[in-house]
Subunit: 352 residues, 2 copies
Amino acid sequence: MNDRLRWIRNNLKTQNIQGMIIQNPVNIHYLSNIDAEGVLLLTLKENFYITDERYLEKVQRTLMVDDEIVVLSSRNLIQEDYENFFMFCENVGFEEHYVTYAKYKEIMHKYKVHSLVETEGIIEKQRQIKDFNEIKNLRKACQITDDCFTYLLKYIKKGMTEKQIADEIEKYFKASGGVLAFDTIVASGENSSMPHATPTDRKIISGDVITIDMGCSYNGYCADMTRTIFVDKIEERVKASYDLVLENQNTVIEEMKDGAQIKIIARIVEGNLKMHGHDPMHALGHGVGMNVHEDPILSQKSDKVLKENMVIAVEPGIYIPGKYGIRIEDTVLITREGTEILTKSTKEYCVI
Amino acid sequence: MNDRLRWIRNNLKTQNIQGMIIQNPVNIHYLSNIDAEGVLLLTLKENFYITDERYLEKVQRTLMVDDEIVVLSSRNLIQEDYENFFMFCENVGFEEHYVTYAKYKEIMHKYKVHSLVETEGIIEKQRQIKDFNEIKNLRKACQITDDCFTYLLKYIKKGMTEKQIADEIEKYFKASGGVLAFDTIVASGENSSMPHATPTDRKIISGDVITIDMGCSYNGYCADMTRTIFVDKIEERVKASYDLVLENQNTVIEEMKDGAQIKIIARIVEGNLKMHGHDPMHALGHGVGMNVHEDPILSQKSDKVLKENMVIAVEPGIYIPGKYGIRIEDTVLITREGTEILTKSTKEYCVI
């Protein structure tokens, strides 16, 4: 059996859970490499993947002997088969953060499980700690994102629209063997004051502040980086905001290491922003991996501790409604002693 | 209040439901035009949109006075406020097909609703019947998709990869003011036998069968069209499969009209395919609109009836594992007397 499947099975066992129904496609991909609709069943002795006839060929091509996953076509299964999968299982886990209420009821009815139990993100927790190959993919995703930013500094010109710049970023990622990890944000002028603006037809003009929040996904792993750049000049008050955001981002990164408490780090930075009259409008950061937003969330409400080989996007920001916004974000690997910043683009003032 | 909100409120009333918690962003957009994270509450007297501080500006800019939706920032709400929203409501609806089991428990805890009831896709049912503006957008999405297909017939050359063709389709849609409605399928040669293949680096060669399943999304409305084309020549057995698929697609479209029973149409066609030794590997079709896959599903299991102004993608196919596949799909508007096919690309043999 592959390592990830064995790990999850052992982990379930320690919680007195003898089987699990896995439906989140990202979790399925993580455990099996399968990339086709279906459901992964971990039963007492075996692993099954139940898929639609039309995906059978694709799934068979993906799996390795080592995975030890038996593929079944849903059309060949009758109600009794479903009821037999978890025979002799006292507790069977499901993904309560993925499965809808309607699906939950359907599962109950279909598998006739004795006790269907919540698993509290057991697979997502495992996914927080990245292995060697995952870090390699994340490094590459960050490198393409960095290269793209270097390219953008030459590419962006006055008169271009936000949409045009966002499209160019997508093109760049594709040409580099990646895809968009998420919808790019290019927010210029007054639009930059909205942390989650969608690119518009607004044209870049002199004096603009431009926030670019982008990330390449490489082999299914996401980078997440934001840089705020300036057109022709920087106003003094904007410069002061930029310095404050950068200072706070540095503080977070300096405090991060294996064993560090998230809430303490968040408290320092959110306190500092508030002291300067700014309201932290979103979380300071979040895990990154197969999803661009994963646990852990960097916030004062968190009672989690950072661990070696977590990968975290750190993104403090300041937003002055209707005027401008500044955000600086890096994807950072947690190490035993501190951090390694995976996105390496300059954080000096970039005036184009 | 806008028409859609009024309609849904009246519909809820007839079911003795006095309030509803709406979280599906597509449904929220449908009812309010809002395109930002949050939750829409229909309470006894008022409508509220609760959003994150960072989206406040964006939401305020979207709403019209006529919508009658009060916008609230989640950070200003305390537990008591949530408990007060549905005071005096006997039954409050939620979206059991969207809300996860974990969220369901969270809602129960947060709103302390007397009785939280399933709404059986009440908004999705309303969305099945398209209004004038929706049909206008769907027409435009289909037209761009058609234009793109005409362009592709000249563009595709031997030696190009499937990925290259898929990228060109995306570029074409964007240049026409649209975006991809879904990930394009370009499946050539033996890949075409997989109904849901992902574009690969396989190069187009002479004799290839190429299945192209694509759709433009315009103003948030999706087209869905598949054409199967041929490189240099068509083998006789492939021609026979093509004729059979087209004949069956024609049968479906001829049978469709306001009041037609889905299961009867599906039975005729699936029976015909089976008689010719083919296994219908997926549903014959599905609704299209704000989502590319919506209700109703065209299948023998359906007990639904077609209605005027539904828009349906009709997509019979034949798949010979490891050899080739043929699929022909059109987006079709149901009218009082019959249908209007919105995608108008040729279904003659296309040999490039």
